[in-house]
Subunit: 358 residues, 2 copies
């Protein structure tokens, strides 16, 4: 794994796990599944493959305390700070500039901080395979596609094209598709031609920079200004100036959908975006009544529910299929299949200027 680096994208501010996630405490810093937070799990996993010096995190400055406390073993200089979030294209461009400055032959694995991976061993195998693929096809952009298990409307899709010779589950990418309607998702699912878009990418930094130059010239120009300021004292100011000018775009929209040479590698390592409380429930281990219970509620005749409480006394009787999350200052009670509506709550709170609950 020489010249190989991982970049964990950790900048997102989660709204889907309110009231546990807040603007100041996004999903990737939550302990949703046990002893560790999602970013701790991802970083630890990568550390099986790479020395810590080659594991990077991109985030915003305001998340520095969280990152420093949760990933205290990571070299502080491996945290790249964006002045503010501008979606994945600038985030990936900035990381590529940093890595390229350190190692012109860098291969970068880019991945979100807030996805759950159940089979670590297989995950690492696939990443290694992806790196080999990049060595074999140095001008290709490689992404990992997940075999859909149901017609999800919450994920983007990747349509397979021709199989790549000499590889088991590697395909040319025919098309990228945004999150579909249910109708379309059902067609995608039935066709067998589509993967879910995992948001995990593997490529040479110079390759992605070349693509950025041709497909996102404005961003590329900004990145060049940053490159020119590398190792200088005013680097943070330059980054901030550039970030004020560039557009907020996803790497999917800005590059992947338009690039000519994109490969997709099937990732069968038990992946989940964990996009809602319902998904946390689905993934978690349940008791005999189908409940997932965290904290010490007093409960009776409760089935198929997710209950997470803190220090307050919470009594729950005779309910089915609910999400209940009680924190010190806010409470969510939600039918399980409505848990995506939590975003609506956060919007409501914004409108009501109840900022301290965001």
């Amino acid at each position: 794994m020489e010249n190989t680096y991982a970049v964990i994208m950790a900048g997102g501010a989660g709204t889907r796990f309110w009231p546990k996630s807040r603007k100041a405490l996004p999903k990737q810093y939550l302990n949703l599944f046990g002893k560790e937070t999602m970013i701790q799990m991802v970083a630890k996993r990568l550390h099986n493959l790479l020395p810590k010096e080659r594991i990077y995190v991109v985030s915003t400055k305001e998340q520095e305390p969280l990152l420093r406390s949760q990933l205290d073993w990571l070299p502080p200089l491996n945290i790249i700070y964006e002045p503010f979030g501008k979606n994945t294209a600038p985030c990936i461009g900035l990381s590529a500039i940093f890595l390229n400055h350190r190692d012109p032959d860098a291969v970068m694995i880019v991945l979100p901080a807030d996805h759950l991976i159940r089979n670590t061993e297989r995950f690492l195998e696939i990443l290694s395979e992806g790196v080999s693929l990049v060595r074999e096809f140095p001008n290709a952009l490689t992404t990992i596609g997940i075999q859909p298990t149901y017609p999800a409307t919450g994920y983007g899709y990747i349509q397979k094209g021709d199989k790549v010779d000499g590889h088991d589950e590697v395909y040319q990418v025919r098309a990228f598709a945004e999150k579909p309607t249910l109708d379309v998702a059902e067609k995608f699912f039935a066709s067998g031609e589509f993967f879910w878009n995992s948001g995990i990418f593997i490529w040479q930094t110079k390759t992605i920079l070349t693509y950025l130059e041709s497909l996102m010239p404005d961003l590329y120009q900004g990145l060049c200004q940053i490159k020119a300021a590398m190792d200088k004292d005013n680097l943070p100011q330059v980054i901030e100036t550039v970030y004020k000018q560039i557009r907020s775009d996803s790497i999917d929209y800005g590059v992947m959908e338009k690039a000519s040479n994109v490969l997709v590698l099937k990732g069968d390592f038990g992946w989940s975006d964990v996009g809602s409380w319902e998904e946390v429930y689905n993934i978690s281990e349940k008791d005999a009544d189908g409940n997932v219970v965290k904290g010490k509620p007093i409960y009776k005749d409760v089935t198929n529910s997710y209950i997470e409480v803190g220090d307050r006394v919470v009594a729950v009787i005779g309910v089915d299929d609910l999400i209940i999350v009680d924190t010190e200052d806010a409470l969510l009670i939600c039918k399980k299949d409505k848990s995506q509506e939590v975003k609506w709550v956060v919007e409501k709170l914004k409108h009501q200027r109840l900022k301290k609950y965001l």
Copy 2:
């Protein structure tokens, strides 16, 4: 209404309205239906019929601050304090001694503090009719029976006997029955011979004292000791000594079921014991979705539910038929038809020695 007095029994400690009701804040002091608490509504109602000097409250000393603040217009000496609750027979006996000492010809209306009456005008008419009945039959014990509207298992029942001549809806009482099983309740209901026991009584104090003398001689002896100490400084000590010795008994069990001359007057004034959150929901005015909402929860796709919240942010999405009561330190989430299980929660808290939540 000369020589007529009302005695509001306010001593009970509610467990059925946890987490709003606590040991230190029983149901009668809760604002469940609008601007006033239940005891405030009862006292105000009686004040239409009687001057405040003739309205009494019996309660325990620990409820003094609540009583004094909620009924600040009542003469302080009209609050009779029991050292501790011993069910309704001692409570009624003690009140009878006080009233009898003030006015040997006193007629007393005894009623619980925590019942809801919807039609005040009709209620006052019935009480007046009851007082006339006592004047006509000075040796009778009169009670008010409620026409059942369903086969309730949560109320005691009164079986009608012969109609009393010259009165529309007055009957001799054939029998009193404790809270029945559903089977029995259905028979009672179908027969048309039964009223619900409202716990409202009207009688001459000397009549009830005579009955106590013959049917509950131990209690009567204690009451005589109290009578002897009236106007003396050691009255509270005497009451306490007596209360330590007497048994805890209901007036129904101790007197009404055994007395020979009991009349029941039909009370058609929209009565409810309000024994559970479900009943509070049933009685309250609902919005178009069938919800009763107090406080300012953020909610969506909620139907047929009771939501009462305080200052915390509470979001409720996609639920039906729930009771949600959130207080500063405790939360109840309960299927509506399970709301009698709240008692179970209180028991649980007792066992877990979480006294501050009781």
